[in-house]
Every structure is written in structure tokens, then in C-alpha cells.
């Protein structure tokens, strides 16, 4: 089969590589001069920053993405984070880090609580894994069962780090699905070479299997005849194909074709897709600020949710002897017009998290709307099919259920590959 892919982000590249191996004729069209979308490196002042992601794969080498990369023979080494995460809590029951702090392991999370709540947490974790709560936000779930301030704060920093949402915006069901997946698949990992290590390996597979990738080539239209995708128009030329896979999310995909029959249910779903916003602050340091390769969750910051130091895994992501530290903070929709203030509060937070440490701010990067942290935030995904036959959507605007970030991208790609196999024998 001939298959055209719109966009060379992680979703597009994963689909293209998998299909190229199966012997299909693949063409990928990418608007930018570089491949990888929001999952590749940008070199800045000698540091390998990224176009989006924090160089982390939520479930490491044993999750959906790790397994798919292995299956298609991608040459990527994913190093497990040990510890997976630490939580920084203030000393002497204070509400901030100003008078000191200690780091406790994510697994000892419950040890901060009173005896009674510790018992409850243990029971709840077991029962909710079996009977997930429905129709309640994670925030309200915690308020109902475990009204501890530290639980609220920790849940919030975890949701901010993993989903770039506050716990108010995450359904409890989704939160428990994530915890369940941490048990099922295992914890976080860092790819050697950062994000680019992954996406370059995919580019290599596509090329070595005869696939073509056109950079600097924007798709301006999807050719639709009889409600079926027949190809794309890129740089004014028509490229016909049997299947079109779009990596740009449902709303942008919908803008690329005319449809004579309007599917109201689909249009309504598109209108309800919510993207998530965030700020990433990149720091350079001579001495390690964190000292391990896991996530440092910072629930008592005003804005910063968590921080990592990827050079503890791959020193080549910074100039010799330097460390690259990246902090993430989620941004609520109503704060988007006050980004500079939000960045400033985040920078103040970092001063409290790393008192007496020397570091430099290399770059602050913000993401929302058309270039967000996630095109469809958790709970607002709408699957991989469209009302147009032979037109599929992959990427973080069409993730698989329960899969966060790039794990969700991989689950969505696998689902799409299954559908294509069934529909286009």
C-alpha cells in the first residue's frame, strides 16, 4: 500500500517506521526543516535542550513506547530512573521550602500522613485499583477520602508533571489508571541522546526501509473523494495514496479537507478537545542540583511541579562538566495571557528549591494552543479514526486510553496500525 503521513512528530514517525518495515510505500511530509516535532533536541549554548519533552519516557523501556521501539528494532537505549521520583517536603511542617526540606521517595509517599490516613491510603490504593472511582475529579476524590494538605499538593505536582494539568482537571479515574500503569509497566526512563535519540532512530528505520521524508514541506490539503482520503497536496503537488495518517491532531486535520456530509458528533468532539499548557525552564549548573536521574516533585512550590537532571544519565546532553536541569510547571488556561508573570513565579520557586546553589537560566519555553504540552489533555482524547475513510489521526491529540504523553502516543499508533490492518487487507 501507499501511505502518506502528515507531520514527522513522534506519532507520525512511529507509524511510518512500523508500516515501512511491513513493506508499505511511505512518504512523510513535515513542514519544519527538522524531524521529531515536540520530541527532538535543539542545541542551545552547548546544551541539548528539547523542542518540547523533558527527555523522559513515562514508563521507560518496558512501557508501550519502549516495547514498540523494541518491536520495530529502533536503536535506542532507555535508562531507568532510579529513584523514579523523590518528593521534596518542607522541614518542621512548614508550608514552603524557605526553612529547609528533605526528600522522600515516591514510594514512601504515605509516610507523611497521620497513622489513620496512612492506613486509609493503603486500603484505598488497593480498592481503587480494582474499582476505579467514576465521575469525580482527582482533587475531590482526595478531599473526600484523605483530606491531608500534603496529599493535595503532591497529587497536584504529580498531575502537573505528568499531564500538565491541576488535579482539579484530572478525573480520578484517569489518575488511578496512571498509577495502575506505573505498577503494570514500570517507571520512568531517559533515552540516551535525549528525545532526538528516539526520533532519529525512527527516521533511520524509515529511510533504510525505502520510506521518504520530505522536510520543509507543508501539507496544504487532504484530497477527499467519496468520503475517502485519496492523498495529500504538498507544495502544490498532488500525492495520491491508499491511506493518509495525520500527526497534527483532529482539529487541524479537519481544517485540511472539505466534507459534504457534516458529522455532528465528530464536530462536537473536536470542539471539546482541550490542550494543556506548560512552561519549561532550562537551567545550567556546574555541580549537580538534584544528583539523581529521577523526577524531583516539588509539591510546595507555588508553580513548579517537578524538576529533572538528565545529565545524570547522559552527560553528553550538556558541555563537559556541566549539568542540564529542566523544571516543568503546568499553566492554567486563564493564566495564558500572564505567561511572563507565571515564568517569574516559577523562577522564584526554583530559588527556594535550590538555595545556595549556583545555576544559570539558559532558556524558558512556554507551550499552549497550537503548540501545547498535549494536544488533547487527559480525558479529552477522541480516538484515531475520522468520519473520512482511510484517514487516521495519531499523536498526542489521539492517544490510547490511560497512556500519558508519549506512552499514549505509542498506544494510539498501535491502535491505528491494527485498524489499518483490518480495513485495508
Amino acid at each position: 500500500m501507499k501511505i502518506n503521513v502528515i507531520g514527522a512528530g513522534l506519532g507520525g514517525l512511529l507509524s511510518a517506521a512500523s508500516l515501512a518495515i511491513e513493506g508499505h510505500e511511505i512518504e512523510v511530509f513535515e513542514r519544519l526543516p527538522i524531524t521529531g516535532g515536540r520530541f527532538t533536541n535543539i542545541e542551545y549554548h552547548g546544551f541539548s535542550l528539547s523542542t518540547g519533552a523533558l527527555h523522559m519516557i513515562p514508563h521507560g523501556s518496558t512501557g508501550p513506547l519502549g516495547n514498540l521501539l523494541k518491536k520495530i528494532g529502533a536503536d535506542v537505549e532507555i535508562v531507568p530512573c532510579e529513584p523514579m521520583a523523590m518528593i521534596r517536603i518542607p522541614a518542621n511542617g512548614s508550608n514552603n521550602y524557605k526553612s529547609g526540606f528533605k526528600d522522600i521517595s515516591f514510594n514512601q509517599f504515605g509516610s507523611q500522613f497521620s497513622m489513620w490516613n496512612r492506613l486509609k491510603l493503603a486500603i484505598l490504593l488497593v480498592t481503587t485499583r480494582r474499582w476505579p472511582p467514576k465521575n469525580i475529579s482527582f482533587e475531590n476524590w482526595i478531599r473526600k477520602y484523605l483530606n491531608e494538605d500534603s496529599a493535595h499538593k503532591t497529587a497536584n505536582s504529580f498531575c502537573g508533571w505528568a499531564l500538565s494539568l491541576t488535579n482539579r482537571d484530572v478525573p480520578a479515574e484517569e489518575a488511578f489508571e496512571i498509577f495502575e500503569n506505573l505498577y503494570r509497566y514500570g517507571g520512568t526512563g531517559i533515552p540516551m541522546g535525549g528525545c532526538k535519540g528516539v526520533t532519529d532512530a525512527l527516521v533511520e528505520i524509515i529511510r533504510s526501509n525505502g520510506g521518504k521524508i520530505h522536510t520543509n514541506t507543508e501539507v496544504s490539503r487532504i484530497i477527499v473523494e467519496n468520503n475517502t482520503a485519496r492523498g495529500v497536496i504538498a507544495d502544490g503537488n498532488k500525492h495520491y495514496s491508499d491511506v493518509v495518517i495525520s500527526n497534527i491532531g483532529h482539529p487541524f486535520t479537519r481544517d485540511l479537507y472539505d466534507s459534504y456530509t457534516i458529522n455532528n458528533a465528530y464536530e462536537e468532539k473536536i470542539d471539546n478537545v482541550k490542550s494543556s499548557a506548560g512552561i519549561k525552564t532550562c537551567l545550567a549548573a556546574d555541580e549537580p542540583l538534584i544528583g539523581h536521574n529521577g523526577i524531583l516533585l516539588t509539591p510546595y512550590c507555588r508553580r513548579v511541579n517537578g524538576i529533572n537532571e538528565v545529565t545524570n544519565t547522559d552527560p553528553n546532553l550538556a558541555p563537559p562538566g556541566k549539568h542540564l536541569v529542566m523544571a516543568h510547571q503546568s499553566v492554567r488556561q486563564e493564566k495564558i495571557d500572564k505567561l511572563e508573570e507565571e515564568i517569574e513565579i516559577g523562577l522564584q520557586d526554583l530559588k527556594e528549591v535550590f538555595p545556595n546553589k549556583k545555576y544559570e537560566v539558559i532558556l524558558t519555553q512556554s507551550y499552549y494552543d497550537g503548540w501545547p504540552v498535549n494536544r488533547a489533555s487527559s480525558g479529552s482524547d477522541i480516538g484515531n479514526t475520522t468520519p473520512i475513510n482511510s484517514l487516521y489521526v495519531v499523536g498526542d491529540g489521539a492517544k490510547g486510553k490511560g497512556g500519558i504523553e508519549v506512552e499514549g502516543v505509542a498506544l494510539g499508533v498501535m491502535n491505528t496500525l491494527d485498524i489499518i490492518k483490518q480495513q485495508h487487507r
Binding site: L49, T51, G52, N216, E340, I343, L363, T364, S366, W371
Partner: protein, 53 residues
């Protein structure tokens, strides 16, 4: 060069500017180090950098 309202402040452009002429904080700001070479515009995911009219 001019930054339009589509900019989100992702910082991608600044990494490709050889003159180090772009400051990013919630939005991109092009400083007078800019030589109008036009390279940054290709790398912006949102088409937020245009040539000045």
C-alpha cells in the same frame, strides 16, 4: 523580522539564530542584533515570524 500574535514562546527560533538575536520569555522578542537573515522563520512551528513590511 517581526513576531506576530501566533507566538507561544516555545524558544525554538532562538536556538537556530546564529546572531543570538532572539530573547524568549513567554513570547519571542527580536533584538537589534538581528541581521534579517530569515532563518528563524523556517523553524517556528507556528509561523509566528514574518519579514517586516
Amino acid at each position: 523580522m517581526r513576531v506576530n500574535e501566533k507566538c507561544v514562546g516555545c524558544g525554538q527560533c532562538t536556538a537556530f539564530c546564529k546572531q543570538d538575536a532572539i530573547v524568549v520569555k513567554g513570547n519571542a522578542y527580536i533584538t537589534d542584533k538581528c541581521t534579517n537573515c530569515g532563518i528563524c522563520a523556517f523553524y517556528c512551528p507556528l509561523k509566528a515570524i514574518e519579514a517586516e513590511k
